[in-house]
C-alpha cells in the first residue's frame, strides 16, 4: 500500500491555487493521551489546518523548547509507543481525508527499522516524514524506503544553510521544504525575524517544492506575515501550549480547533 505523498502535493498545490499559504499544524502523539491526541489532530483539521505533523515523542528532544519537551514527557510517561503514533496517523487521516505526516528524531526509526517504519506509516495512510536531526548526507537509506512506499521526505533548512547546501538538500527532498525561521529550538516567539524571508527566497531559488516556514509562529498576525512570503506556515508550540493551559481534555481539543481557525484566517491574510 502506497503512502499519501500525492495527497500532500495536491493539498499544497490547492492552497497555492487559492493564492494563500497552507496551514501546517504540529501535535505530539499520545499527548495528553493517545485518544485525546487523535481528537486534537482531527480538531486541527476541523479548524482549518491543511496538513498535520504528528510528533513522535522522544526522551531527548534536543531541538525542542520547554513546551514540546513537557508534552513529550507527558506522552512518554503515559507509555506512548510507535504503534500509537501509527494509530494517530491512521485515525486522523481516515476521519478527515487530509495529509498527515510524522515528525521524529532519527533514533526511534533507526531502532525500529526503516523498512518496518516506512511500510507501517504508508499502510496507516501517512503522507511522509520530517526528520530534523537526519542530515541529507545520512539520509540515503531512509529516502530509498520512503520513495518505495510513497512517502515524502521533508528536510529542514536553516538560516545558516549556505546556498550550495540548500540546493543539495532540496534536490533530495520531497513534499515540501521546512524552513526554520530562526536559529533556535521550537517555541513561541514575539516576532518572526527577517531571516525567514531571506531563507525562503534563497530556498526557492533552488527548488520548485513549496517552502513552509516553522519555528516561533504562534498567532494569526505572525501567520499572516509569514503567509505573505511562504507557501505554508507551520505552528506547533502554540497548539501544545493551549492544550497544556486547558483545564480539561475537552477544553484542550476545543482550544486546538479555535487556534487552527484563527490561524487559518491568518494564512488567508485575514488576521
Amino acid at each position: 500500500m502506497s503512502g499519501n505523498i500525492q495527497l500532500l502535493n495536491d493539498t499544497l498545490a490547492a492552497a497555492r491555487n487559492e493564492e494563500r499559504a497552507a496551514l501546517v499544524a504540529y501535535l505530539p502523539a499520545g499527548f495528553p493521551t493517545v485518544d485525546v491526541g487523535i481528537e486534537a489532530v482531527k480538531a486541527a483539521f476541523d479548524g482549518g489546518a491543511d496538513v498535520v505533523e504528528v510528533g513522535l515523542p522522544h526522551s531527548d528532544p534536543v531541538l525542542d523548547g520547554p513546551v514540546i519537551q513537557t508534552a513529550d514527557d507527558i506522552a512518554l510517561r503515559g507509555g506512548v509507543r510507535i504503534a500509537d503514533v501509527m494509530r494517530t496517523v491512521r485515525e486522523a487521516h481516515a476521519a478527515t481525508g487530509k495529509p498527515v505526516l510524522v515528525m521524529t528524531y532519527w533514533n526511534p526509526i533507526d531502532r525500529y527499522g526503516v523498512e518496518r517504519f516506512t511500510s507501517e506509516l504508508a499502510e496507516a495512510g501517512g503522507a511522509g516524514c520530517i526528520l530534523p536531526d537526519l542530515p541529507v548526507e545520512e539520509a540515503g537509506l531512509w529516502r530509498e524506503h520512503a520513495e518505495k512506499h510513497g512517502l515524502a521526505t521533508v528536510f529542514v533548512v536553516a538560516p545558516s544553510s549556505k546556498d550550495a547546501r540548500l540546493a543539495k538538500i532540496t534536490a533530495a527532498g520531497s513534499g515540501f521544504v521546512y524552513a526554520a525561521s530562526l536559529m533556535g529550538v521550537t517555541g513561541t516567539r514575539e516576532s518572526v525575524g527577517e531571516q525567514a524571508q531571506d531563507l525562503v527566497r534563497r530556498t526557492r531559488a533552488t527548488t520548485a517544492l513549496p517552502v513552509c516556514v516553522g519555528l516561533g509562529v504562534s498567532n494569526p498576525a505572525q501567520a499572516a506575515e509569514v503567509a505573505a512570503f511562504a507557501d505554508g506556515v507551520i505552528v506547533g508550540s502554540a497548539f501544545v501550549k493551549r492544550m497544556l493551559d486547558a483545564p480539561d481534555d475537552g477544553a484542550a481539543v476545543a482550544a486546538v480547533r479555535e487556534l487552527a481557525g484563527e490561524l487559518a484566517r491568518g494564512v488567508r491574510g485575514k488576521s
Partner: protein, 430 residues
C-alpha cells in the same frame, strides 16, 4: 623546549572523512548546526598543520597544565591486585585536577582562532566544567556550563569552583537531570547562539570531528605513559586500564597502545547497582547501537529507540552513550570492556587512599577496581597501567556519606542542609 604534547594521531586511519570509525560515528545533527560543526572540522584541520598552534598548545601544556604528568608505581595497592605491578598515570596532578584540561586548552585555542567569544560546555562530575571555566578565565571568554540538577547537588564543590572562575552554571532540570540532559540543553543553546558560541564538547562522543579531535588532544596521556613505563618497567604493560563514561580519558590512554597487540585495552564502565538491576550506565556492556548526541555508537535505549535513564554513583560516568571509537574497539575485539559496581569502585577508592595516600575521583576508582580484577587474573608477573584520570576532592561528600565519615553532629548538619539528590545517593549506596 622540544617535547611535544600535542600529538594528533599520525596514522589517521579512523575515522574516515565522513567521521566513521567502522560502523560508528558520523554526523547526525540538525541542519542549523551543520555550518558550525563543519567550521570546527575545517579549523581543526588547519590548526593541526599549523606549527604556531602546536607551539602555543605545547607551551600551555608545560607551563599551565604541568605536563608531563607523573607515573607512580603503587606497590602497597598492588598487593591487592594478585601481586601484579601497578603503575598509575597521574592525570589527577594536572592543573584543575583531571585529564579534562588537555582537551579544553586545545579547543579554547580553536575557539580563539574561529573568532568566537563565548564558550558553552556540559559537565557531569564538574571536571570538564571546571577545566572549561578555567580556560575561559585564562583566555577572557564568556562561559556558560550546563550541569544536571542532580549533579549540581552531588558535586556542589565544583559548582562553586566554576562560579569562582567566572562561569555561569545552569542547573538542568529536564529528563534524568544528569549529564545526558546537560548535553541536550547545551545543544539547544548552541543552535540558538551558534554565531558567536563554540560548544566545547568534553568527551570523545558527539558529531564528527569531536570524537577524533578530542581524542587527539588526549593522546598525550598514552604517548607519555608508554614512554614512561618502558623506562621504568623495561617493557610494555600487559594491560592499560581506564574508566569509560563518554570515554575521553580511556581513548587518551589507549590510543598510543593500539598497535601494541600484546597490550590489553581494558575499559571499565559503571555497573551502578549491578547490570542485572537495570540501574547502571554500562553502555558498551548492555547497550545497543543507536544515535545519541550526534553520532552512532552503543546507546542505552529501549526497543523503540527511547534513551533509558542511566545510573552511577559517579556523576562523570552517569551517561547512556559512549564515544564511537570505543564501540569500534569493542566490535573489532581490540578493546575489552567490563562493568564495575558502585561498591567495587568505592572500595577501590578507599583502598588507594589508605595504601598510597592518593584519593582518586570516583570515576577513576572504577578503573582501579578493574585493575584489581585484571591483576588477579594476570598474577604476580603482571604489569598494569591505570589512568588515574582525576582527583577525589570533589567526591568527599559522597564518599563521606558512603563510608559514614562524618561525625554524628556534622552528619546531622550535613543531612539537614543536603538536597534530595545527595540523600538518595547515600541511601542507595548503603
Amino acid at each position: 623546549m622540544s617535547s611535544d604534547y600535542f600529538i594528533p594521531d599520525p596514522e589517521g586511519q579512523v575515522p574516515n572523512t565522513e567521521g566513521y570509525f567502522g560502523a560508528f560515528g558520523g554526523k547526525f545533527i540538525p541542519e542549523a548546526l551543520v555550518a558550525a560543526v563543519d567550521e570546527v572540522a575545517v579549523e581543526y584541520e588547519k590548526a593541526k598543520s599549523d606549527p604556531a598552534f602546536a607551539s602555543e598548545l605545547n607551551g600551555l601544556m608545560v607551563d599551565y597544565t604541568g605536563r608531563p604528568s607523573a607515573l607512580t608505581e603503587v606497590s602497597r595497592f598492588a598487593e591487592h591486585a594478585g601481586g601484579a605491578r601497578v603503575f598509575l598515570k597521574r592525570e589527577d596532578l594536572n592543573h584543575t585536577g583531571s585529564h579534562k584540561i588537555n582537551n579544553v586548552l586545545g579547543q579554547a585555542l580553536l575557539t580563539k582562532r574561529m573568532g568566537k567569544t563565548r564558550v558553552i560546555a556540559e559537565t557531569g562530575a564538574g571536571q570538564h566544567g571546571v577545566a572549561t571555566a578555567t580556560a575561559c578565565a585564562l583566555f577572557g571568554l564568556q562561559c556558560t556550563i550546563y550541569m544536571g540538577e542532580i549533579d549540581t547537588q552531588r558535586q556542589a564543590l565544583n559548582v562553586a569552583r566554576m562560579r569562582m572562575l567566572g562561569a555561569e552554571v545552569v542547573a538542568v532540570k529536564s529528563g534524568s537531570r544528569t549529564l545526558k540532559d546537560a548535553i541536550n540543553e547545551a545543544f539547544r543553546d548552541w543552535v540558538a547562539n551558534v554565531d558567536r558560541t563554540h560548544y566545547l564538547f568534553g568527551t570523545v562522543a558527539g558529531p564528527h570531528p569531536f570524537p577524533a579531535m578530542v581524542r587527539d588532544f588526549h593522546r598525550v596521556i598514552g604517548v607519555e605513559a608508554r614512554r614512561q613505563i618502558l623506562e621504568r618497567a623495561g617493557r610494555l604493560p600487559d594491560a592499560a586500564v581506564a574508566c569509560v563514561g563518554g570515554g575521553s580519558n580511556a581513548i587518551g590512554l589507549f590510543h598510543a597502545f593500539i598497535p601494541d597487540a600484546g597490550v590489553r585495552l581494558v575499559g571499565c564502565e559503571p555497573a551502578g547497582h549491578g547490570i542485572e538491576t537495570g540501574e547502571h550506565a554500562a553502555t558498551l556492556t548492555a547497550g545497543e547501537p543507536g544515535i545519541l548526541h550526534g553520532s552512532r555508537s552503543y546507546v542505552l535505549q529501549d526497543d523503540e529507540g527511547q534513551i533509558t535513564e542511566p545510573y552511577s554513583i559517579s556523576a562523570g560516568l552517569d551517561y547512556p552513550g559512549v564515544g564511537p571509537e570505543h564501540s569500534y574497539l569493542k566490535d573489532s575485539g581490540r578493546g575489552e570492556y567490563r562493568a564495575v559496581t558502585d561498591d567495587a569502585a568505592m572500595q577501590a577508592l578507599r583502598l588507594l587512599s589508605r595504601t598510597e595516600g592518593i584519593i582518586p575521583a570516583i570515576e577513576s576508582a572504577h578503573a582501579l577496581a578493574g585493575a584489581l580484577e585484571v591483576g588477579r587474573e594476570l598474577g604476580k608477573d603482571g604489569l598494569i597501567l591505570v589512568n588515574l584520570s582525576g582527583r577525589g576532592d570533589k567526591d568527599m561528600d559522597t564518599a563521606a556519606r558512603y563510608f559514614g565519615l562524618y561525625d554524628t553532629d556534622a552528619r546531622v548538619e550535613a543531612d539537614a542542609s543536603a538536597d534530595n539528590g545527595a540523600a538518595e545517593i547515600q541511601g542507595d549506596a548503603k
